[in-house]
């Protein structure tokens, strides 16, 4: 799909959301005026205006511009707010809504009257005409001025038995947005054209149709089977020479799978928004002022997961409000803000979605929980004594414990947290908790994005094969006999020191309590041999699982276990592999639970993980995960693990040669093989290889397989980069890994060398080091758009949602970013304030900051430059946005 089409659709969705915000805001405004509210309205209208202007929806941007002006004047205090303003505001909001829903986005609508009315507010003149009647006029005009009914229908309605399609085309300057064709059949001959027309329009305007969930589920299931069938076919015919048809089909199946997966993905925002009301109601009921901060509404999750989230999250938020936050008076006396804050956030992290619910309340009193747990015979006194604060607080997830001293109507009936926990666990997720007495509680929930098709690593353990979902897999570790760090045994429990953390190491024997006979001598042998284990994680818990070997990676469809086996929670289900064998799918969650790892063994590791996380922040610049591999026999190479999508083992005979290029077919995709000696001055690949590895990088539009003769390991190391002694474009630098000189390959410049036309960083070639942008933008759609644009020309982009976030990022790594590109109108901290803070900070004063905004007036440019911005550009189109940044960096 065309990027602009996609972006336009996103904008329409966003505009719908903003309109809703606007309407809600107006309702609040009716109850009472506040500056925050006006700011909110202003931002909503501003976003609509920006997008409207960007896509050439002239009337939308015209009306919102006038509307914005009025709001701005109110905001800046030039105009005092009065109740007479509300109804024109409503009219404008309704008119915008009408435009949003109409086929031509109001481009042919007359809004002169309405604009006049809004403008008249500025001059303080009140129109005598009743605005509501005008609104009536507008909505009457609106229905469908341009839906182009074909002339046959008009001329000969009775002979038509079928109402033909209506194609809506909106041509806006050079941008063409073609809405989906809507075909609708009506059984009776068209007697009332207008009626038929209207019915069609309702279907067409949102470009959506209702589909039964059941149907989607079946579609999903079937697609899963097809994917499976494809894997089997590909394997069955791997040796055939001409399999172009098969490959073509495999391609389509990959696409199909993606699309079907998408049909079930929904942003979590819908669920989040309703908490605003819940919190408002709670605040009233409990008589505590509460502020709810929501972040990451656009994080997408499988529909079925989203549906089950609502209840447990409501419970958690109620808990925050009821138990977490103190009364305003006790808050003030403990030196906190009167208004308590609850943060609700969602974000993607390593193939999972992380949701956090956090409050700045009084935290959980570990002693109280312990006392109660002892009273209820949940734990013994001695267990209680050995528990840390977080560990004890986690007891609230135990059935039958609730900390509220008195039961309120909201929460505290002693059921709840255990139900919340089991709900998340049923979804394949995990829940964790951090608390600090006096300063708040944070609940962290890890969830899989989708339940049905998972990319997994197939491993062998003592003769059987198991699938391990990538989302639960952190890393694979090989311990050689000569390595410094070995698996150690403490009181018959194996542990491994992983970067300062002791993690428990489990074997399949311990997990299943079944030992296999042939294993005994295997184990004896392995004492002198290499040991391989996977590091799996469930929530914040991690543990190692001993394996014998790694087979391959495969997209698997997880089938639930029969009920007869359902008590075996360490399995997530079973799956049929490409070679028709059945493998059990391991569940890191289940293993943690069935081994009670989360209570004792791991508490220490969680805590040290935390401190490790803090450590990592300190030296994030230098410490990196690297994948170390070899091309020729002697030279060691490395690339950042974060840029690796997949590593696969390949047999030489699988390579297909087309003209001078070598290709390989992997899961339906033809991947170009990249031989590094063509681009780097290194020795060539050994001739006698039968199998080798290909590394697929995670770079957009760069679908190649980098050939490696062997994969050494992945290391987490502090990177001391020496600049390369030879002038080699694709080498970032030289470092020493395990006492061997290692070249760090620069994938971006490699990509540039391979397909220069796609990765045209030529304009910036003189300053390749100046490529780190911090983009600050509150509107998700502009944020993504700018990111896509900048990344398409080779910048490395970090995103921030508002000024405050940007500032935190900047202060964290003051020398990391080369340029800040910021919007002006944003919540929390706007662009002016951000730039002022940056320019007045000692550490950051030299950081160039560009304003990228939808303000079009000259006046704003001056205002921006005088506020300290180094540049000013208007978000009108791709070229403009890119030019702003490139010019700046080149001039610099």
């Amino acid at each position: 799909m065309n990027l602009d089409d996609e972006v336009f659709k996103n904008f329409l969705v966003e505009m719908g959301e903003k309109l809703e915000e606007l309407e809600n805001g107006l309702a609040e405004l009716e109850e009472g005026f506040s500056e925050d509210l006006i700011n909110k309205l202003f931002r909503a209208v501003h976003t609509i205006k920006g997008g409207g202007g960007f896509f050439g929806l002239t009337k939308v941007s015209e009306l919102s511009h006038v509307f914005e002006d009025v709001l701005m004047n109110v905001r800046e205090g030039k105009l005092s707010f009065g109740d007479h303003m509300i109804s024109p505001f409503y009219s404008a909001c309704d008119a915008l809504k009408g435009m949003h829903e109409s086929d031509d986005f109001g481009n042919n609508q007359d809004i002169g009257q309405l604009c006049l009315e809004l403008k008249s507010l500025e001059t303080g003149l009140k129109k005598e005409e009743d605005p509501i009647s005008e609104l009536g006029d507008i909505t009457d005009v609106e229905p469908n001025p341009v839906s182009d009914q074909t002339s046959e229908d008009d001329g000969n309605p009775t002979t038509k038995t079928e109402l033909k399609k209506v194609t809506n085309k909106v041509e806006v300057e050079s941008e063409k947005v073609v809405l989906e064709e809507v075909e609708s059949k009506s059984k009776s001959p068209v007697t009332k054209l207008s009626k038929g027309n209207r019915a069609e329009k309702t279907v067409g305007q949102n470009e959506t149709i209702r589909v039964k969930v059941d149907l989607l589920n079946k579609l999903m299931e079937l697609t899963g089977e097809i994917v499976l069938g494809r894997n089997q076919l590909l394997r069955q015919f791997a040796d055939m020479e001409d399999k172009s048809n098969l490959v073509a089909m495999a391609h389509m199946i990959s696409d199909l799978q993606q699309l079907v997966l998408q049909t079930r993905m929904q942003p979590i925002g819908g669920t989040f928004t309703k908490f605003k009301r819940i919190v408002r109601d709670l605040a009233k009921q409990l008589d505590k002022p509460i502020n709810l901060e929501i972040k990451g509404e656009d994080t997408e999750l499988d529909r079925s997961i989203i549906e089950s989230l609502s209840d447990p999250l409501t419970h958690l938020i109620r808990n925050c409000a009821d138990h977490g936050l103190e009364d305003p008076s006790s808050r003030v006396s403990s030196g906190k803000d009167r208004v308590g804050t609850v943060w609700l956030q969602a974000r993607h992290e390593g193939g999972q979605v992380v949701i956090t619910v956090e409050d700045d309340g009084k935290g959980i009193d570990a002693e109280k929980v312990k006392a109660k747990a002892i009273a209820n015979n949940v734990i013994s006194q001695s267990e209680a004594d050995s528990m840390g604060e977080n560990e004890a607080a986690k007891l609230i997830f135990h059935p039958g414990l609730s900390t509220a001293e008195e039961v309120t109507s909201l929460s505290g009936r002693g059921v709840g947290m255990d139900v919340v926990k089991s709900t998340f666990e049923k979804l394949g997720g995990a829940i964790d908790l951090e608390t600090k007495l006096g300063s708040g509680t944070k609940i962290i929930i890890h969830l899989p994005t989708t339940l049905t098709i998972m990319s997994s690593l197939i491993v062998r353990i003592e003769g059987d094969r198991y699938a391990v979902p990538h989302s639960e897999l952190k890393e694979v570790i090989l311990v050689r006999p000569e390595d410094e760090i070995q698996i150690e045994e403490i009181r018959e429990r194996k542990v491994y020191r992983l970067r300062g953390n002791l993690i428990p190491i489990l074997s399949m024997e311990e997990i299943t309590s079944v030992s296999k006979d042939h294993m005994v001598d295997n184990e004896k042998k392995s004492d002198q041999k290499e040991i391989l284990f996977l590091v799996l994680h469930s929530g914040l818990n991690q543990f190692g699982l001993l394996i014998d070997s790694i087979d391959h990676t495969e997209e698997i469809v997880v089938k639930p276990l029969a009920q007869i086996l359902s008590s075996h929670t360490f399995y997530a289900g079973s799956s049929i592999l490409g070679d028709s064998d059945v493998a059990m799918v391991l569940s890191a969650n289940g293993i943690c639970q069935s081994h009670k790892l989360h209570i004792h063994d791991l508490e220490t590791s969680v805590q040290s993980t935390k401190s490790l996380a803090e450590m990592q922040i300190l030296d994030m610049q230098e410490k990196q995960d690297l994948l170390v591999f070899r091309y020729s026999k002697n030279e060691q190479l490395a690339i950042p693990l974060s840029l690796v999508f997949k590593v696969e083992q390949i047999e030489v005979k699988q390579i297909q040669k087309i003209s001078n290029n070598h290709f390989i077919n992997l899961e339906g995709k033809n991947i170009l093989l990249l031989y590094l000696d063509k681009y780097l001055s290194i020795e060539s690949l050994p001739d006698d290889l039968e199998t080798f590895y290909i590394i697929t990088p995670k770079i957009k539009d760069f679908e190649v397989g980098i050939v490696a003769s062997s994969i050494e390991e992945s290391v987490h190391t502090r990177l001391n980069l020496d600049s390369p002694p030879i002038n080699e474009n694709a080498i970032l630098g030289i470092t020493t890994i395990r006492e061997k000189i290692t070249f760090l390959v620069d994938l971006f410049s490699l990509a540039e060398q391979v397909s220069p036309e796609r990765f045209k960083r030529a304009e910036l070639e003189g300053k390749p080091e100046k490529d780190r942008l911090l983009v600050v933008e509150d509107t998700p759609f502009f944020r993504d758009l700018e990111k896509t644009y900048f990344e398409s020309v080779g910048f490395r982009v970090t995103l921030a949602n508002n000024g405050q976030e940007a500032l935190d990022l900047l202060l964290d790594r003051p020398n990391y970013y080369n340029l800040v590109v910021s919007d002006i109108v944003m919540p929390v901290m706007d662009g002016y304030e951000l730039v002022k803070t940056i320019k007045s900070s000692e550490k950051l004063e030299h950081m160039p900051v560009i304003a990228l905004t939808s303000f079009t007036e000259e006046e704003s440019r001056d205002k921006a430059l005088s506020a300290g911005f180094d540049g000013y550009a208007i978000k009108t189109n791709k070229e403009n946005i890119l030019r702003a940044v490139e010019h700046f960096l080149i001039e610099d």
């Binding site: 499976l228 059987d464 399949m508 299943t512 079944v514 029969a562 086996l565 028709s580 059945v582 493998a583």
Partner: protein, 158 residues
């Protein structure tokens, strides 16, 4: 109703044919490590994963080893069964497709409902439903829902 009969050791047993999805042999069992011994493993039945119960072990007798004669009776799951349900008889299997591993199969027999006899009180067993006389011998008619839902009678899983 038609019944499919099979042997466990020397005992002839039967289950109603409408409950059966198919009867197969020589499947490749994939062991489920950690599962109760009574589970032979899981198999891939044309894309379906089916769990197999060893009937010998379910009766706490001798384990049935795969042989030329041994067969797997794969049962329909409840929803498949509902699709062909005939209103006269209410039958139930299990929520999932489960197979039972038996020593060998025998004839299909027709049993009229008046031939069904109660299980004599000295041989009552949770799995038994009725007894039918055929010539000199008895055939035990099993209750599939009991065998296929062993997890509900935990004794058999320990």
């Amino acid at each position: 109703m038609l019944y499919s009969t099979f042997y466990l050791g020397d005992t002839q047993m039967a289950v109603p044919i409408p409950c059966i999805l198919e009867i197969g042999r020589s499947f490749k069992f994939h062991p489920v490590r950690g599962a109760p011994e009574v589970i032979d493993g899981i198999i891939n039945l044309r894309g379906k994963v089916v769990t197999i119960v060893n009937l010998g072990l379910a009766f706490e007798e001798i384990k049935i080893e795969p042989s030329d004669e041994s067969r797997i009776l794969i049962f329909k799951n409840n929803s498949e069964l509902n699709e062909v349900a005939d209103s006269d008889t209410v039958m139930e299997t299990a929520p999932d497709n489960i197979g039972i591993h038996v020593d060998r199969i025998s004839d299909v027999i027709r049993v009229e409902s008046e031939e069904l006899q109660a299980v004599p009180s000295n041989m009552v067993h949770p799995f038994y439903k009725h007894v039918v006389r055929r010539g000199d011998s008895f055939i035990i008619i099993l209750e599939p829902s009991k065998i296929l839902n062993l997890h509900e009678t935990p004794d058999h899983l320990s």
